[in-house]
Amino acid sequence: MDYGHPLRFGVLLAPGEHVATKALEDLVDLAELSEELGYDLVTFSGGPAQADPWTLASWAAGRTSRVRLLAAPARDGNPAVVARAAASLDLLAGGRVDLALATAHTPDADAVGEAIDVIRGIWSASERSPLYVEGKHHRVAGADRGPAPSRTVPLWIDGADPALLRLTGQKADGWTAPLALGTPPAHPGGHAEDGTAADSAPADSAPAGTAPAGTAPAGTAAGPAPDGSVVDGVWVGELVAAQRVIDAAAAEAGRDPREIRRLARIAGRFTADRGGFLTGPPEKWVADLLPLVLDAGFATFVLSAGDPETVRRFAAEVVPVLRTAVDRERRARGVAESAPARSAFVRSKRREGIDYDAVPASLAATAVEPGDAAYARVRSTYLRGGSPGLVLRPGTPADVGDAIRFARTQPVKLSIRSAGHGISGRSTNNGGIVIDVSRLNAIEVLDKETRRVRIEPGARWSDVAAALAPHGWALSSGDYGGVGVGGLATAGGIGWLVREHGLTIDHLRAVEMVLADGSQVRADEQENPELFWGVRGAGANFGIVTSFEFEVDEVGDVGFAQFVLDATDTADFLERWGAAMEAAPRDVTSAVILGRPRPGQPLIAQMMAVVDSDDADTIVSRLQPLAATAPLLDYSIQVLPYAAVMHVPPGTHDAQGEPVTRAALADHLTPELSAAAARLVRSGLTYFFHIRSVGGAASDVAPDATAYAGRSANFQLVAFGHSRGDLDPAWDALLPHFSGQYINFETDRRPERVHEAYPGDTLRRLRALKRRYDPAKVFRDNFAFDPAEEDVTPGAAAG
């Protein structure tokens, strides 16, 4: 009996009888030591001192960074609260939590089963209905769901009661064998005190007075048999019998028994002479544990040892030898090693067309499927609701290659995602695959002299600004720090410093990317220069960029101004603001936003501006002409670090529906365009009309120097509407006033948009690149063009 699970080792941490600050600190030190020694997990019990195991686990989470925490809530906890606590611990600890349902003391399988339903129900945040569980022991009546943990938190059941074993088979992700089960032969001297410490959570007081205190719970009292007469191996039978009960219940519930991990708690002593079970030199330990793996199905061992020395020796002298022995035996017996399979529940939520079992091993553990707890956090993006069938989250460029090679064989849509702020970029879909590179988010300085920095696509511009600030540097990106590097730096990047420092892509010196065939390339002015040209404006068509190298600028504190203006005379305001911006020195960049008009009220414009100066006189002199473009209702001006202007806390996205936008570049806000734009705003068909200034340094670059061709533009416009059918005709009427397109704000998928963004020769060159790098059109979620034909289908991947 061997389920082929990879071996994992943990340490049980339990305070002794007399708990004082020092004792608990020692315990946490032991947790840190376990992490250092390479243990996979630590677990806690309150010990005879009755410390709270959840508090211990939460504290240890704050003091460790890698080791998993098999955390047990205190008894009598409300399961809905336990669910939130476990999800919270998972979020704080970065996905390192397993939840142990401490059932040894309340072996009522019905109550535990209900608690599991409550816990999983609370975690199912992607279901929008409130949670109802009508149980005999637990009742939840319309609780809000959430939060979802960042990864599926495995649920463990601890107990030998047959009903609990069956419940484990039906619902749990892991089983912890009580120590008393399958009592191993003790050595003649006995070591009962080590053994009992392994499961020493005490009987306790209960608020409702249910559990009489002082009675030793079943499973803790018995230690190893008092005599060593039992022949090694015979006692394993009891454990195997328990495993069989679990497996039968699993099979009956339509589950694969391999979904369930099996954990054995062990305690022993290193001694020179061979004694009973786990008493003797390391070889004796290995010999004792090997049958538990090969014949009794255990692959996770939790060592109960209060002293660092045993913890050290076990890690150094038992673990590696046992691993080798297990490898050898498994090979000899033809047992394939595999992580526990995804549960029947998760498999039941799978979507058609995706061969889930073929997901490469490098991606399987971090991939998210619709049935996974983390799905609620990854299904949608900032502006777009989605329900993809599979989200792959590669953590290295090589894994990105695996992801692409896998995805291109699947007959479903493919979306690429960095930080999920795509508008044109359909970075989620319905039923398809998402390759999410948000885990690639490093930011590092390559060379201080030349201000060369390397930034990965999953970083957000808020993170970039914060990382560059200590050097006195900044990289003009956009006006919103939540936006990701990947989607913006492959397309353009119209930011707060654009007039002074140009587009984000104008600072790009090199990229590393993974192509449609999964291969990795570098592109810069020397190496693959044509690809480098294409990446700067149409990057999403050629691959997934995994690393950007930028030359950044020296930027200190900036003036940040917000004005509220009466734009009732809308056309006049737009024309004046446009003229003021064109006349302004390059150190000022600004933008205006007009909302939906409200009957009987003045039309309000918000104007934001950044002046790259910390000198009050300069700031005021730059802002005055802008403030004079319409009657001023309110304003604020601050001098702030650029990073403060860009600061946006990280968060997950849960949008619903599809954004409806139209966008364009314009050279000037002519009287005609201003009047037409004013009519559009007045029509109420757009609820958010945003004009950003461009020009300046962005226009110093030749239109054919990069795939971003709209270099003559001084303005970028975008209108958000509710209905495509209403917005399109209204916007189409404005087309004669425009000079081009910046793809990142446009959701219209008609082919004309591609021609606006990539006119004439630009598109010819891009098609040639597409033929060379992505002839099969693997990348098609964002302003995709065909390699050959005239047909273009921007954003064809949307579901």
Binding site: V19, A20, T21, L24, E25, V28, G46, A49, Q50, A51, D52, W54, T55, L56, S58, W59, A61, G62, R63, A74, D76, G77, N78, P79, A80, V81, R84, A85, A87, S88, L89, L91, L92, A93, V118, I122, A125, H138, R139, V140, A141, G142, A143, D144, G146, P147, P202, D204, S205, A206, P207, A208, G209, T210, P212, A213, G214, P649, G651, T652
Partner: protein
């Protein structure tokens, strides 16, 4: 009237948003760096957008060195008192005596019931809180080696072993507004922790203090046994007419008045802006300490 002469504490009150767990922790660390004495989090276990306050407090305690921590306030109806007592003692031991127990009777009964909690009337909830305080204090005292039994109306303990004892005398601070809760505060609690925005008027504060003092007296306690803490909100900027809207100097003067005339000695600022937290800890707190020390010296009320 009263100045109970307590030393001054300044704290923060950070939204435990689970969308941004690391920002929440960072703000707590920011509070410590700003020199604040206390970081607190509200506890609404039925609120799906929040981190579990207990887990967060434990995690933050592990990530800070000096600052004290409290729930503001812990929701008793969804946290059984025996568990709470041991968890509080454990956290206090782990953190080297930095934990205080802000506790509330609960208020959002529909949400509590939806979570599977027990619905109580406001009056019952105060009685339950009173029982819970006895259980918590009873479990915190292992020097009493007798088995611990409580046969209360709301909670029962059937002969539990006591312990663990916390590292220091954890203060039990109650979020109280109505007379019954205020009387319980005076009779049993170590602190009174209301929010200024809910107090309505300064007169209401004076009345509440009087009820607490009288109840303390009735229980044979000094009124000064009950620390008065206050959650406040405000805005830094140009001087305004409102309470705590203006420059740090104006805040300091107003907080000094609240200390010297209304008996408060701890101010917990609600809000998640790190710049505001820095100003509160770095500028306001020292100014208030100064003003209060001078005035207390003049009055001769230093304890």
């Amino acid at each position: 009237m009263p100045d109970y002469g307590h030393d001054l504490l300044f704290g923060s009150f950070i939204t435990p948003a689970n969308a941004t767990p690391h920002e929440v922790v960072a703000l707590a660390q920011e509070s410590e760096a700003a020199g604040l004495d206390l970081v607190t989090f509200q506890d609404h276990p039925y609120q799906a957008a929040f981190l579990d306050t207990w887990t967060l407090l434990s995690y933050v305690a592990a990530r800070t060195e000096r600052i004290r921590l409290s729930g503001n306030v812990i929701n008793l109806p969804l946290r059984p008192p025996a568990v709470l007592a041991r968890a509080a003692a454990s956290l206090d031991l782990l953190s080297g005596g930095r934990f205080e127990l802000g506790l509330g009777a609960g208020g959002f009964w529909d949400a509590i019931e939806a979570m599977g909690g027990r619905r109580l009337t406001p009056g019952q909830a105060v009685d339950a809180l009173s029982e819970a305080i006895d259980i918590i204090r009873g479990l915190w005292d292992p020097s009493d080696t007798s088995r611990f039994r409580v046969d209360g109306t709301y909670y029962q303990v059937a002969g539990a072993k006591r312990g663990p004892a916390p590292a220091h005398d954890i203060g039990i601070w109650l979020g109280a507004y109505k007379p019954k809760m205020l009387r319980l505060t005076g009779a049993k609690a170590d602190g009174w922790l209301p929010s200024l925005p809910y107090m309505g008027s300064l007169d209401a504060i004076t009345e509440a203090n009087a009820i607490i003092d009288e109840a303390a007296d009735g229980a044979g306690r000094e009124p000064a046994a009950v620390r008065r803490l206050l959650n406040v909100s405000g805005r830094f900027g140009a001087a305004g007419d409102g309470l705590l809207t203006g420059p740090p100097e104006q805040w300091a003067e107003q907080l000094a008045v609240l200390t010297l005339e209304y008996g408060f000695s701890s101010y917990i600022l609600m809000g998640d802006d790190p710049a505001v937290i820095r100003t509160f800890g770095g500028e306001v707190a020292p100014l208030v300490r100064d003003l209060v020390a001078k005035e207390r010296a003049a009055r001769g009320t230093v304890r």
